[in-house]
Amino acid sequence: MKQFFETTVPDFLQGGLRVIYTHRLQSRLFCISMCLGMGNLYEKEGERGISALTQESLIKGTQFSTAEEVSYRTETLGATIDVSSNFFTGKVRICGPAENFRSIIELFCEIVTLPSFPHQEVNREKRYLLRLLSSLDDDPFRAAVIRFKQAFFGDSALAYPIEGRKEDLELLNEHTVRTFHHKVYSRNNCVLAVAGRFDQKEVQDLLNSGLASLPQNEAIQSFPIPQARAEIVAERRAIHDCWLIMGTPAPSMQDKDGRAAFDILNNVLGGGMYSRLFIRVREELGLSYQVGSMYVPFPGTSFLAAFAGFSPLNLGKVVEVFNREFKNIAEVERDEFEEVKNYISGTMLQVIEKTDSFASLLAFCEHTGLGWDFFASYREIIKNIRVSEALEWWDHYSTMQKAMGVIAPVHFSHPLLE
């Protein structure tokens, strides 16, 4: 991991815009990635979905190019563009062959600073998001995740899909999108990362000139995340299997020690094929093909949740195993704990290996206040944490009530679903 951070240089562009350069001399690729504060936690009541709509519309034309021309220019460079938002950040990333780095930067700056948000394009993307919202439940696992988030976050910003809320989206238009864009695409609300094979001085000059018009606004505050709830939200569908997601509160992303503890214990519980849930539920009981757990750290209330898809007749049994395995984490063995640390380190290497994902990671860590080199130091925290310390964190959170999201077949009845 060290080798990737040794060639990484933090810097500022004119006007204070943070930029992180990371050099890979042998790479054939060049990638530029911007992370900015937006998403559910930055949306006011009545504006749920404004982040997703802004991002969808961002590449639908600039002051110099139509939507079609933007796509053509990108793809003729052999590049891919990724524009998205999630619960508390947004991303604009272009990745392509290194020899095209100048054109990629030029295109990137034009998209970020001069989007035209034409009425027709914004309306089309709005209709697309509305249709997408109506069909999120088509995938039973995703439907269960949505129910779990409602059970855990109540009716707060994080309980909504990142696509927004129907009644809010319907009221949004190109004017609200332009205003939101102006607010969030500002120097103090974003961080850039540049990765791959390139000349740093040249890239710096191009960015200074291409992003010169990026405004410097007042700092934007995100809305706080409310306390966790422990409800059960269930829904029935005409499907074969049942999906269950069961979770507890967990340390926030800024809480480095708690986060390290939960990263390790989450992997003990349900990360990978040698995890307790996988062994109990799949290998020993043969109940499920897809079973595991996820730890999702937010800048505030966060969660750790176990999940599985299984025959509805086994719902009671799976709930029992989940509860038991949550409890049994308290008896984690030292060997098991140390092995999982190695597993996490290896997984980090896999993320860093790819130029585009490393660029996005650097920008994300720097933007969220963790620091661009967070992964390097976090690896040390993981390495040094002891079982007893991790279990203190576990004890603090895991005794809280659990929230559940369930998708079950139509005619199946169970006390949990009433």
């Binding site: 069909s135 299997d241 043969g286 597993y343 896999q350």
Partner: protein
């Protein structure tokens, strides 16, 4: 893990037939290079074929990780109909314990090294890989070898795993895109071994016995039927000698004969509709095409990119951006040993299938009436090359691509791909469209809301 479309995205390898390895010289070592258009870069690799018949490929990559990928030329299309699901079931069973690492100990050891282990089954191949930090590559090689040579295959584990696979089948049936793909393959490859589901049916999986699994292993998991593909930063001579040592067994039985001859009947225009408890409609138009071993597969791949890869592709521009009659539309070209499949995938919420069908048909005809000009071809070529670079950036991408190609055909094709790509023009795409994308032979499959079915 099931791999129905190994080259989804139209950018990486396909699956195809391999030449007999018996004629290859042992200790063969080659360095190949190919010009990648404007970049002029090369993709060197080393290859050796050992006395047991195993082929070992190594590609150097400066990385803290090493990926070891083992490809066996045996997949679901090698099964007898009544044993449908056997190849995939075997892939599951090797993770249930081996001679020296019972239960999940082998997985535990891999994860303890900071590694990942997984496997996939396709119509023609089964692959297993371990991805580990560089310092553990030798131990990983031992474990990967043990995984395919010495699985325990206990009766108890076999019975327990059947319910897991049947749950996997149910999961596939509950997920509209998975169900659509399964129906599509069943329809296009009707009455052939390619038309049977990789996971099998609950009934066939339920009837598999330990003897079935052992016979399958004996027949197909022979060194001469295996390719070991490794990418990372290690000493190649050490790798080759370790690999030779680990696969030193002589031929145990007959060597599988791979001169498969499957006759595919070009389907007539037909439509299949299925209803589910969903909101959106998921559709696919598919056309039977040549498999990977033919050079025209490069042309079809480029055609797929012109039509349905990227925002500026013809189908996306016309149907999503302009007419707004679909929410998503893209194409894939999946190539197999004996045949290929060109598919146009669409989704929409409110709309008319007939209108979508008509618009797709119009775009196919427009390839002939308004052939792609150089600007359009350049976009598609560069997009394919960019995607190729991204695949070749990771050790896993390299090990997978080299392993897959060598398992069924020849690695040379990887190097030839960008070269041939540069030579293709609009008229080549017209020819492919006329030959293979005729509406008279289009198979349409729709999975939609129950009320519309």
């Amino acid at each position: 893990m099931v791999i129905l479309s190994p080259d989804a995205g139209g950018s990486s390898a396909g699956i195809f037939f391999h030449k007999s390895m018996m004629g290859e010289r042992m200790e063969q070592k080659r360095h190949l290079s190919a010009s990648l258009g404007e970049t002029g870069e090369i993709f060197p690799y080393s290859k050796r074929v050992f006395s047991s018949g195993i082929r070992v490929l190594y590609r150097y990559l400066s990385s803290p990780l090493v990926c070891l990928s083992l490809w066996v030329r045996a997949g679901s299309s090698d099964e007898m109909p009544e044993k449908n699901g056997l190849a995939h079931f075997f892939e599951h069973m090797v993770f249930k314990g081996t001679k020296h690492n019972p239960g999940v100990q082998l997985i535990r050891r891999v994860q303890a090294m900071g590694g990942n282990i997984n496997a996939g089954t396709s119509l023609d191949t089964t692959d297993f890989y371990i991805l580990v930090p560089r310092e553990f590559w030798k131990e990983a090689l031992e474990l990967l070898t043990e995984l395919v040579k010495d699985p325990l295959l206990s009766h108890k584990d076999i019975e327990s795993e059947k319910s897991v696979v049947i749950q996997e089948i149910h999961m596939e049936e509950d997920e509209p895109e998975e169900r659509l793909a399964r129906l599509l393959y069943q329809q296009v490859f009707k009455n052939t071994s390619y038309g049977r589901p990789i996971l099998g049916e609950p009934k066939t999986v339920g009837s598999l016995s330990r003897e079935d699994i052992l016979t399958y292993k004996e027949e197909y998991f022979q060194p001469s039927n295996i390719v070991l593909s490794v990418a990372g930063d290690l000493e190649e001579n050490v790798l080759f000698s370790c690999a030779e040592e680990m696969f030193d067994s002589p031929y145990l039985s007959k060597i599988p004969e791979f001169t498969r001859s499957v006759t595919f009947l070009e389907p007539g225009n037909c439509k299949v509709e299925v209803g589910m408890d969903i909101e959106r409609t998921y559709g696919a138009f598919s056309f039977l095409c040549p498999g990977f071993r033919q050079d025209m597969s490069y042309t079809i791949r480029l055609l797929s990119t012109v039509l349905g890869q990227g925002i500026a592709s013809r189908l996306n521009m016309q149907l999503r951006e302009k007419a707004e009659i679909v929410d998503t539309i893209y194409t894939t070209y999946s190539s197999y040993q004996a045949a290929g499949l060109f598919v146009i995938w669409v989704t929409f919420l409110e709309g008319e299938r007939e209108r979508v069908e008509e618009a797709v048909q119009t775009e196919l005809l427009r390839i002939v009436s308004q052939p792609p000009d150089e600007k359009e071809c350049k976009r598609s070529r560069n997009l394919l090359k960019g995607s190729f670079f991204q695949t070749m950036e990771t050790v896993q991408g390299n090990a997978d691509m080299f392993g897959r190609y060598d398992a069924i055909d020849t690695v040379d094709r990887i190097c030839r791909f960008p070269v041939v790509l540069n030579s293709l023009r609009g008229e080549d795409l017209v020819e492919m469209t006329e030959r293979y994308l005729s509406w008279d032979h289009a198979v349409s499959v729709w999975v939609g809301p129950e009320r519309h079915a």
